[in-house]
Amino acid sequence: MTNPIDDHDDRDTQALLVFLANGTLEGDEKTRVEAAVKADPQLQGELAALKAMRAEMQAQTPQATPGEFGLARLMRDIENEPNQTNVPATVTRLGFWKGAAAAVIALIAIQTAAVLYAPDQIIDLAGGGAEAAVEGPTLTVTFAETATEAEIRSLLLRLDLTIVSGPSALGIYTLAAQDVSASDRALQQLRAATNIVDSAEQEE
C-alpha cells in the first residue's frame, strides 16, 4: 500500500519537475527535486523531455499578431473613451516621473563606456557597472523617434548637457546639467524643442 505522505511528496516532485525544467525552482525545493532526479532514471528522462518541450514551445513562431493595426484600433478606442480616469489621486505628474525614472535608472547598468564624437566636441556616455556619480541636477528625457543623432547631439551640446545614462530599452536618457539654474533653462528649451524631444522632466 502506498504511504499517502510518500505519494504526496512524489506528486509534488513530479509537478515541480516542470519548474526545474524552466529554471524557476529555487532553494530547498530545487535541492530536493534535483536529488530526486539524480536518483531516478525515469525522472531524468522526463526532465529531458520537459526541457525539449519548453525549447520547442519557445521556438514556435507565433501567428501574425495584430501589430500596428491592433495599436491603431486601440488608439481610436482610447480617443473615444469618455473620460480619462487613470490618474490616481496620489500621483502628480512630477511625482510619477521622479519615481518611475528612479526605478528605471536604478536598474540601468551600462556595460561599456562609450563616447560620441562630434567634430570638435565630445559627449561622454557614462559607463561602468553602476549608475555614474552625478553631482549636478539631472533631467529625464525621451527623444522623438524621428530625431536624428546629429540633432540630439547638437541640442545637448548647445544646452551643455551630459548623458549620464541611457538609452534604456525604452529610450529613456538621464542628462546632467552643471547647476540648478542651467538645469531649469535646459528643461525649458528641451520642452520647446518638440521636433526632437518627446518628454523632459526634472529630477529632484
Binding site: N22, A52, M53, R54, M57, G70, L74, N86, V91
Partner: protein, 185 residues
C-alpha cells in the same frame, strides 16, 4: 521582453494619460500576450478581439496597478480572465480540477523526448489538455513563470496550480509517448 522596472515606468505614465507610453507598452507586451491567447483559441480573429479588450483594460486600469505583482504577471492575469470568460461563454471550460486517476504506468521517456521534438505531436497533445491545464503549462514554458506567478495569473492557490501541472505533465507525456509508439509501428 522589457524589464519590470521599464514596464512599471510605462504603467505610471499611462496612469497619467500618456498615450505614447501606452503604444510602447503595447509593443513590448503584444506578442507574448497574443501568443498566450491564440494558442488556446486557435482563432486569430477571436484572439485579436480578446487582445484588444486586454489592452483596453490595461489602459483603463493602469492607475489602479499597485505593484503587488510583476507587471507582466498582472497583464497575463487580465488575459487569462478574458480568455476564460470567452471559454465560459462558449461552454468550453470546466469548473473542477478533479481528474480521473490515471494508471501509474510511467511513459516511455525516450519516446516522449523524440515526440516532443516533432512540433505536430506536441501541438496535438497540447490540444488534448483542458484549458486550465494547458494555460498552466504554457505559462511555465512560454513565459518561464514560477508556479507562484502562475497562481497569481490564474488567481488560484499554488497547490491547485501544482495539481494542474502534475496532471497536465502526466497527460502530455503519456500522449507524446503514445504518439511516438504509434508512429513507429
Amino acid at each position: 521582453m522589457s524589464t519590470n522596472a521599464e514596464l512599471t515606468f510605462l504603467m505610471n505614465a499611462m496612469a497619467n494619460g500618456d498615450k505614447k507610453a501606452f503604444a510602447a507598452f503595447y509593443k513590448a507586451m503584444e506578442r507574448p500576450v497574443f501568443k498566450f491567447i491564440v494558442s488556446k483559441l486557435n482563432d486569430p480573429f477571436e484572439a485579436n478581439d480578446i487582445l484588444h479588450e486586454v489592452f483596453m483594460d490595461v489602459w483603463r486600469s493602469a492607475g489602479k496597478f499597485e505593484g503587488r505583482s510583476a507587471v507582466k504577471t498582472w497583464v497575463f492575469g487580465i488575459a487569462y480572465r478574458k480568455t476564460m470568460d470567452h471559454f465560459r461563454k462558449h461552454g468550453r471550460v470546466t469548473v473542477t480540477d478533479d481528474m480521473p486517476e490515471l494508471e501509474d504506468d510511467s511513459p516511455d521517456a525516450v519516446a516522449c523526448l523524440n515526440a516532443t521534438q516533432e512540433a505536430a505531436h506536441l501541438r496535438f497533445c497540447m490540444d488534448e489538455l483542458k484549458v486550465e491545464h494547458r494555460s498552466a503549462i504554457e505559462l511555465a514554458f512560454f513565459e518561464d513563470m514560477s508556479y507562484g506567478e502562475i497562481a497569481h495569473v490564474a488567481d488560484t492557490p499554488e497547490g491547485t496550480i501544482k495539481t494542474r501541472i502534475f496532471h497536465a505533465k502526466k497527460l502530455l507525456l503519456r500522449c507524446l509517448s503514445g504518439r511516438m509508439k504509434e508512429a513507429t509501428t
